[in-house]
Every structure is written in structure tokens, then in C-alpha cells.
Symmetry: none
Subunit: 230 residues, 4 copies
């Protein structure tokens, strides 16, 4: 497109800078949130990133948007874990491996746990988004393991993230004394989801993908209410 041959590069150069800053901010936020949780202030993150707070707000409309972006990164990382696990020819082992590695990531990260676990941090809504990315992967891990006769038949793909979440809760509590305690409960879980003749039928249906939208709206609504009351 002749006539504007040098504007593009200039814009690009700026974008490159901006992108660099964006990355710095994300990296700083990850570090700070990982260690101190989501209550850390944006000022601290900006300082950690070596930029001004204003720059953080130029890149992220909101503290929440920053958290969301960070969360999206994590989703990708965990999706990658799932994809790697799917390379395993043994479908049961693939599922186990994935659960294990995911829990391992969460066990070390206060912020990530808070992102996922508390509605007050928008946890529910985020979790839903994540599941859109995970759905096919979970589905693959689960259906393959079921096809191989290793996984109980009433296990659902949506159970995978919830189990991971539960393990991270155990990790949270015991982090100072037994940081690896979640492995104990993962093992119990695995024994509980193995296909068996005498498995207890699950009393409640799994969460459906279609319910995700509802969760998002309810969480948003709840928060609006909370703010209004205050």
C-alpha cells in the first residue's frame, strides 16, 4: 500500500514497545500474584514491572482485566499440559498425568488458586472461559480412558477441572507443612474414578457445558449487587 510505507513500521515499533511493556506487566503480575495472591496492589505490580501504574491501566482497563489476561495465559499453559498428556498412548495414564501436572501447577500459585476458587474474584466466570478451551481436551482425555475401560463410565469431562480445583484447595491449606499433600488425595481420587463393577453411582449429574453461560451471568450479577450494596 504505497503512500504510507513508513507509518506502519513506526506504529509497529511502538506496538513492539507496548507489547514489551505488556509482557513485563504480565510477568510482574504473575510473580507478585503467585507469591502474595490477588490482593497485591497494582502499584506494587507496576513497580515490580518497572513501569508506571498509568501504563498498567493503558494496557488493562481494570485490575480484573489484568487478572483475566494472566488467567488466559495460564489456561494456555494448562491446555498445553493436556495436549502433551494426550500424546501418551495409554489413555488412563494420560488422564492421571494431566491431573497430576495441573495440580502441581496450582499447588505453587496463590494467585491462580484465588482466580479459580472465589466468586469474589470472578472465579466462576473465569473458570467457565477456561473450560471452553479445555472442553475438547478434557473430552478427549476422558472418552479415551473410558473407551479403554479404565475410567468409570459416569465420569464427565467437566469433572476434570473440578477435581483439579479440589486438589489445589488441599495444597493451599497444607502449603507450609506438606506442600505435596495433594498427591495423597489425587491418589484417593484416582482409586475412586477407576472403572469398577462396584462403583457407587454418582448422585448428581455433572455440570453441563451449557450451564457455563448461566454461571457467568450469575457471578456478574452477584458482583454488581455486591458493589451496589456497598
Amino acid at each position: 500500500m504505497p503512500g504510507q510505507p513508513d507509518k506502519q513500521p513506526e506504529v509497529r515499533r511502538l506496538r513492539r514497545d507496548a507489547e514489551r511493556n505488556r509482557q513485563r506487566i504480565l510477568a510482574a503480575a504473575r510473580e507478585v500474584f503467585t507469591e502474595r495472591g490477588l490482593d497485591a496492589s497494582l502499584d506494587e505490580i507496576a513497580r515490580h514491572a518497572g513501569v508506571g501504574v498509568g501504563t498498567v491501566y493503558r494496557r488493562f482497563a481494570d485490575k480484573e482485566e489484568l487478572v483475566d489476561a494472566l488467567f488466559a495465559e495460564r489456561v494456555e499453559e494448562i491446555a498445553a499440559i493436556a495436549e502433551r498428556a494426550l500424546d501418551d498412548p495409554d489413555p488412563w495414564r494420560a488422564l492421571i498425568t494431566f491431573l497430576h501436572e495441573w495440580a502441581n501447577v496450582m499447588a505453587r500459585d496463590v494467585g491462580l488458586r484465588q482466580m479459580l476458587m472465589f466468586a469474589s474474584y470472578g472465579g466462576g466466570a473465569r473458570f467457565c472461559l477456561a473450560r471452553e478451551r479445555f472442553a475438547p481436551l478434557s473430552h478427549a482425555l476422558v472418552s479415551r480412558a473410558q473407551a479403554a475401560g479404565a475410567l468409570r463410565a459416569d465420569f464427565a469431562p467437566t469433572d476434570v477441572p473440578l477435581i483439579s480445583l479440589m486438589l489445589s484447595a488441599a495444597a493451599e491449606y497444607a502449603q507450609d507443612v506438606r506442600p505435596e499433600i495433594w498427591q495423597r488425595y489425587l491418589t484417593m481420587f484416582i482409586d475412586g474414578i477407576r472403572a469398577r463393577d462396584d462403583s457407587t453411582p454418582l448422585p448428581v449429574n455433572a455440570v453441563l457445558p451449557g450451564e457455563m453461560q448461566m454461571i457467568m451471568e450469575q457471578v456478574a450479577h452477584a458482583r454488581a449487587n455486591a458493589n451496589a450494596k456497598t
Copy 2:
């Protein structure tokens, strides 16, 4: 003691008022914390209770003291659940019942989950105190079920509260769509802790009662640090 038969009641009536307010405050705090979590302000709780903030501070030196008092109540409630469960002649069913009922309580209460789950709220320290109360009860539930050959031998009493905690994490997430989803995971868990010949050995030792003191100290230390950094 005739002659002063109505002095006692007079003194009591005074205290009755104070006690009434104390109860109102506790009730309000329970409601507010249950719905909105521990970040709710004491002003809101006072308003909810229909008293001034000062009154809250007259009864509870601290926000933390209020939370602690509330927590103590809950501990007693849950201990009562355990004691009722122990009446069941079937030791396995007793354990299941207890886990079920406890999870049920936690599934509805944001504040209680925060009390237990986050170090930033003093969760660790409180959890330890609770366990002092629960220890004999858990021990009874577990050892009986193991003696009956129903529970896997490597299950430990300290696993009971952690499993409950994990279930409450699931409840937290799904509260808006499937408030009862935790029952699904409890069922999986139950299948995982049933005594079987082919149980996978647990890879990490259970938390020891003796480690509780450590947790308490570390949590206290962590908090002191957090305050100092801030």
C-alpha cells in the same frame, strides 16, 4: 435465699440485653459473612445487626476476634455432627454421613470456607484449633471404619478435614449452578477410600497432629511478614 430473690434476675436481665446484642451481632456476622465472605466490613455487620459499630467493638476486640468466635460456633456445630454420626452402628456409614453433612454445611457458607482455607484470613491457625476438637472424633470415625474392614488401612484421621475442605472448594465454584455438585465428588472420594485389594498406595504421608503447631507458627509468621511488607 429469701429476701433478695429478685436481685439475681436483675443482674441477669442486664446481661441478657448484652447477650442478646452479642447474639444479634454474631447472627448478623454469620449472615453477612456467609453470603459475602470475610471481606465484609464491620460497619455493614453492625448495620445488619441494628447496632452501632462501637457495640461490635465492645463485644469483640477485633474483627478477627469476631471471626474467631463465629468459627468456634461452627466448630461446635460440626463436632456435634460428628458425634451424632458416631451413634450410627455402621462405622462406614458413620464416616460417610459425617463427611456428607460437614460438606453440606460448608457448601453454603462463603465465610466459613474463607475462614478455613486462606492463610491470609488466619485459616491455617484456625483449622488447627478446630482439629484439636475434631481429633478424637475423626480418630474414632476412622479407626472404627478401618476395624470394620471398610476403610483403606492407610487412611488417616487427619485426612477427614482435608477431604471436607476439598469438597467445599468444589461447592464454592459451582454454587450458582449446581450447589450440590460436591456430592458427586464425595461419592468418587468414597469409592477411592474404600478398603480394596488393589488400592494404589498413598504416595505422601498424612499430616501428623504434631505438625499442627508448626503450621500455626508458620502462618503467624507469614502474617507478620505480610504486615511488615505492607
Copy 3:
């Protein structure tokens, strides 16, 4: 007065109780204010006295009234010191002794210093009242010493309390390291007020007794303003 022969004693008994309480409160207030200054809370004083706060308010309309009552006590004590000093046949020594003993009292009492020294505590107004009591005593101490040719002629009775005040300021500052440092400055002062041929004439007239009323009004006015602004 027949017809009410037993009411009097009953009232009296109550008054005796009330007086006892009043004394207890004063004693407690003195202790607490002496050690921790006038910022101590009335609750603490009530606790110290073993009575309820309400009782304090029954006897003293105000925190200020309590402080005033306490102050009146002190004024009497110091007046007694002055009277004892006046027994000394040597007029110069009498004056010195009085200054010394007064400063000694003030050096030990945070609350008394605050009562006297800061307008924000109503110090000025109180000081005036005190001077009404002290005026004849100071006058006697001063005029006798002047008559004996020991004290410089331009020294005024109203200088006595101000010098004492100044010494207590020194005591305040050095209380932790040199609690007796005020003796050093009293000595300097004494050398400065001794009658000499080469004394420097005092550049400003002493405060007149008649100015006291003005001070009282101005202080009261200043305080009203301060409260209004807030």
C-alpha cells in the same frame, strides 16, 4: 427535725458512699494521669477505680471537670508547700525551697504538666485559677525575699509559677536520662534572680493578676472555635 429522723442518715450514708467513690475516682485518675498523661481514657480510669464509667460521669460532668477537680487538689498541695516554706525564717531560702519542691512535684507527673502547660488541655484557664490561690503566698514569698534584699526588686509574684512551669518543661524532656536535670536550671535561675547591682533590667512587665480573667476567656473562646471548626 422530727418526722424525717431516718431519712437524713440514709441520704448521708449514700453520700458517704458517693464521696468514697468520688475519692476513688480521683485517686485512680491521679495515678493514671500521672503516669500516662491526660490522654488516658475515662474507661481506663474507671477500671482503675473499680467503678463503672457511668459513675465517673455521675460525679464529674465531663472529662474536663475531672481534670479540674484533680487540679484543684494539686493546687492545694502546692499551696501547702508554699505555706510550709513560709515558715522558714530565711525569706530567700523559703523562696528557693518552694521553687525546688514545686518543680520536684511537677517533674514526676506527666498529667500535671499537661494540665498546666497546654492550652489544648485548658491549661491557661486552670493556671489562672491556681494563681488566685497562690497569689498571696507568692506575694509573701517574693516580698519578704525582696525586703530582705535577697531577691531582685523587679521580680514579681506572678513570676513564681511561670518559673516552676519552665522547670517542669525541662523535666519533661529529660525524664528518661536525667530526671533531675531541672535542678541544674533552677540553680541558674536562682543565680539570675538574686539581687545584684548589675542585674539586667527585665524587658517585659510581669503578668498582672488582672490579666488572668482575659486569659480564661480567650482560652475558652479558642477552644470553642477549635471544636466548631472540627
Copy 4:
């Protein structure tokens, strides 16, 4: 460096605004503290300065830091007074002049007196810091006057600030009626510290520079205790 000659000013201009605000805050604080003492709230100072409270806290971590900054200013002003006084070829007059001018500053400023005089405001600690700055100046003033045979030999440099403090106490009391009354007592003092054959020996040693550290520690300790008790 031509081509970017205006970047420097731009950076400076930013800072100029901040500095302007900082100065506004300091000026407002000085005014408010001068008139109403250190108990004035930061909200009021912010209002007075025409900025938000947050701005005050951006520049001064603490109320104490603001007070300290203000105090540092004053120390410099007073040091300047001392330096000017030292220009006087007559050593005795230099000392007198300094005492006079210093007292004059303090006589007008409630806040400054509180800064210096009360441990509860950190007075002791600040006074020590000030003395580090004043020490050589006081020493010069004193030793010269002693060398000239005008000042009594047992007078110590550390007596200078204490005398000033005492004079300010007199000023405090009489500010509404005789704001200049301190001059009267300074004159008495001067007559008391003049070298004479018949000076009364000072009964207590002067505070030593080495005792300053102790004071600082004790004051800090006392404050920690005070907070703990409360």
C-alpha cells in the same frame, strides 16, 4: 545537546508540580500545626492545602514523616539563626542573640513546641536529631563565650537547647496575654549564666551528647509500650 533541549524542562515541570504540592502541604501543615498543634488531623491539613488526603500520603508515608519533615525545616532555620549569631564578634552577645531569636521562633508555634516537648509526639527522639545539627553550633557559641570570660564555666553546650525549650514553655502559657513574656525569663536566665565569682555550683551534670542515643532508644521503647498497653 541540541535537538532535545526541552526534554529536561519537561521532566522538571512534572516534578515542579509535585514539588509545588509538597510545598503546599508543608506550608499548610506548618500553618495548621502552628496554630492548633500536632493533634490536627491530616484531613484538615489536606483541605487546607487544597489537595486530597491521598496526596499527603503520597508525599509522606506517615503523619510522623510529615511532622519530621516539618521539623527538619525548622532545625535548619534555627541552625541558620545560630550561624548568623556566630558572626557577631562579641561572643556573649552572640549567645544571647541566639537564645533570644530561637525562643522567639518557638514562642509562636504550638506545633513546634509539641514536636520538641512531648515524648508522646516523639519529641525526645527529634530533639536528639536536632542536637546533632546544633551540637557544633552550640559548642562554638558556648566555648567562645566562656573563653571570653563572659559565661559561667560550668555551663554546657547541651544547656542551650534546654533553656530554649524552657522559654518556649513560658511562651506557651502566656501566649494570649503576654506573648513576649519569655523575654523576661530569658533575661533572668542570662543573669544566671553570666560568669561570676559567686555563682552557685550547678548541682547536676549537664546532659552528655552520648546520652542522646539512650534517650532515643528509651523514647522508642516507651512508645512501643504505650501502643502495646493501648
